[in-house]
């Protein structure tokens, strides 16, 4: 059984890292990062089977691909807290010569990252390739891929959705961060996504939904998702989240998609987030 209280402590620290990193360089994307914190804590501290030190090829381990690369703060914090690299390196986020680029990259060799992302819509295709490679290698581990909901507006996502079903990439678990917000406003105003569940189902996927900010439910659903693999269909977890979750003034609005808190706002945010593992 998952130790939920421990995971909540980890999530609280990751949230502190996120707002401090973005504040420290006065740029970055806190909203989506905060909304997906439970998912990252759940994947890296409970659900995924992986090894450290990191190997690029990642054979015989679960792999994670982040398609909506702008939520890099939550990934970097999680990787550091999981032991992929030193926590102190979080302080270099978005600064010259850093391995923690604004959007994730492989060029600087940051452990934990297998592909660059940031230009949206590409991650699911890459995850499909990684999933097929696992099948070719008779490697029974899983490939996870997180996408944004606004990202579903990119055509390539649907090319990949069709491909995954056709080629029976049933070791692939895609996750959509369904927070209903994008840069220009609510997704329903910018470009309606319609019924995403029905869309993926009609593409031949096994689709599940959950509340992505409820750790117990999320972990439960991630395990169910794992148990659904191997059935001939790729699996999608459509995860309802609140952008900015955990910091009251950032919550539920697209306003904090890509702006940094000032000193006062940082203090306010940190007051709401317990320091559990020690700040970097």
């Amino acid at each position: 059984m998952a130790d939920i209280s421990k995971l909540k402590q980890i999530a609280s620290q990751i949230r502190r890292d996120i707002v401090r990193m973005v504040h420290g360089v006065q740029s970055g994307h806190p909203g989506g990062s905060l909304g997906c914190t439970e998912l990252f804590a759940a994947l890296y501290f409970e659900v995924m089977d992986y090894t450290i030190p990191f190997s690029m090829e990642g054979v015989y381990e679960d792999q994670f691909f982040l398609s909506n690369g702008h939520i890099s703060p939550v990934w970097y914090s999680t990787l550091a807290r999981a032991g992929f690299f030193e926590v102190s390196e979080l302080d270099t986020f978005r600064k010259l010569d850093t391995r923690l680029q604004g959007h994730p990259a492989t060029e600087e060799g940051l452990p934990g990252i297998r592909i660059a992302s940031g230009s949206l819509g590409q991650g699911l295709s890459v995850a499909c390739g990684a999933a097929l490679a696992k099948k070719m290698n008779h490697d029974h581990h899983h490939v996870f891929c997180l996408m944004g909901d606004g990202e579903q507006q990119e055509g390539q996502v649907w090319e990949a959705a069709m491909f995954a079903a056709h080629h029976k990439a049933d070791n692939l678990i895609a996750i959509i961060d369904y927070n209903g917000q994008q840069i220009d406003g609510p997704t329903e105003d910018v470009m309606s996504l319609g019924n995403l569940v029905a869309k993926y189902e009609s593409f031949g996927w096994h689709v599940m939904t959950c509340n992505g900010n409820n750790l117990e439910e999320l972990i439960d659903k991630l395990y169910v998702a794992k148990s659904q693999t191997g059935s001939g269909k790729p699996v999608l977890l459509c995860m309802k989240t609140e952008m900015g979750y955990g910091v009251d003034f950032m919550q539920g609005t697209h306003k904090w998609h890509g702006i940094a808190p000032n000193d006062e706002q940082l203090a306010d945010a940190l007051n709401q987030l317990e320091e559990t593992l020690g700040d970097y």
């Binding site: 090829e57 990259a105 660059a116 295709s125 499909c128 390739g129 990949a160 491909f163």
Partner: protein, 318 residues
């Protein structure tokens, strides 16, 4: 030095198909992907022999590039196949982010490049692909000249680690290189030695350069012909050495004058050893339907155009 002749014509895309099959037999990490053009790309033999290592992607090239990048993550060596237009312009951001910037060992293999595609017309006759791919950091760009060289280049790419673009074409073209010649990526091939002018050509235009050399020799002009099959990394030494000797150069490519081989050569010369240069290339316009030879004629890429350019550039030396 050997004078070049040919007894057989074959399409360079068949060289790719045959090379891929050989590479697949040598190394089981080699995988193939194709976006609904298996016949055109000559990937059928590979698909038949290695069905478990071949992925049909349907008409979805952007996804194909991403899938290839994902396969490369796990150490596979993916060769993607589609027309040159859909291998570059259509998927440029995928090449840039998922392959080039991510340093993935993907071989982007592109047929039906240039005017010699013929009757399908300008929508498919891409003339900008060398420029697009040579601009991408980490990419190797190769444009072989005939069937044999395309086969060898394909096999060499399977052994080479890193993203690469391999450009070839549709028409049957003279085979004039040897099937067993070593193919060295990044090393220009000196075909004919001469002293009055250097002709540097790539792809199908290498044969045209050889034809032009014969005409110029008749006129008493001594021509050096270089096959620059690797656009990037560029064999700067070979360019500097040859033009240092002849004092002038004609570059020939089935590509836009903007952004192609000619500009790469001009950069090397202007920064090392300035010399008069003439460009045989498409002059900032789109192609059209027609037979390959008719199109080369109309767009300034015929043997006669190379001869005229050579005479002009020699004149400019003085």
């Amino acid at each position: 030095m050997t004078k070049f002749t040919f007894t057989e014509k074959k399409d360079t895309r068949s060289g790719f198909g045959d090379g891929l099959l050989e590479a697949g037999r040598k190394n089981n990490a080699v995988v193939g992907l194709c976006a609904d053009l298996i016949g055109s790309l000559k990937m059928g033999a590979f698909q038949k022999e290695f069905p478990e290592r071949f992925f049909q992607t349907g008409i979805a090239e952007a996804n194909m590039m991403g899938v290839a990048a994902g396969l490369a993550v796990a150490g596979k060596i993916p060769f993607t196949g589609t027309f040159a237009n859909f291998s570059t312009g259509r998927v440029y951001d995928q090449l840039r982010q998922s392959i080039a910037y991510s340093e993935k060992n993907v071989k982007v293999c592109a047929s039906h490049a240039g005017l010699t595609l013929g009757e399908d017309g300008a929508t498919h006759q891409i003339l900008e692909d060398i420029g697009m791919t040579k601009m991408l950091p980490n990419f190797t760009v190769i444009v072989p000249c005939d069937y044999n060289q395309t086969k060898l280049a394909t096999m060499a790419l399977a052994e080479h680690h890193g993203p690469a673009y391999l450009r070839f074409g549709r028409p049957k073209w003279p085979i004039f290189t040897k099937p067993d010649e070593p193919f060295v990526i990044g090393k220009a091939q000196h075909l004919i030695e001469g002293t009055d002018v250097t002709i540097i050509a790539t792809g199908h235009m290498v044969w045209k350069a050889i034809e032009a050399e014969a005409v110029l020799t008749e006129k008493g002009i001594s021509v050096e012909v270089i096959n620059l099959h690797t656009i990037k990394p560029l064999d700067e030494e070979a360019i500097i050495k040859s033009v240092g000797k002849t004092g002038c150069v004609v570059t020939c490519e089935e590509h836009q004058i903007n952004g192609g081989l000619g500009e790469s050569v001009a950069r090397v010369l202007s920064t090392n050893q300035p010399a008069p240069q003439e460009f045989v290339a498409v002059n900032d316009e789109f192609g059209e339907s027609g037979k390959p030879e008719e199109l080369l004629d109309k767009y300034g890429l015929s043997t006669e155009h190379i001869v005229t350019a050579a005479e002009k550039v020699i004149h400019r030396k003085n």
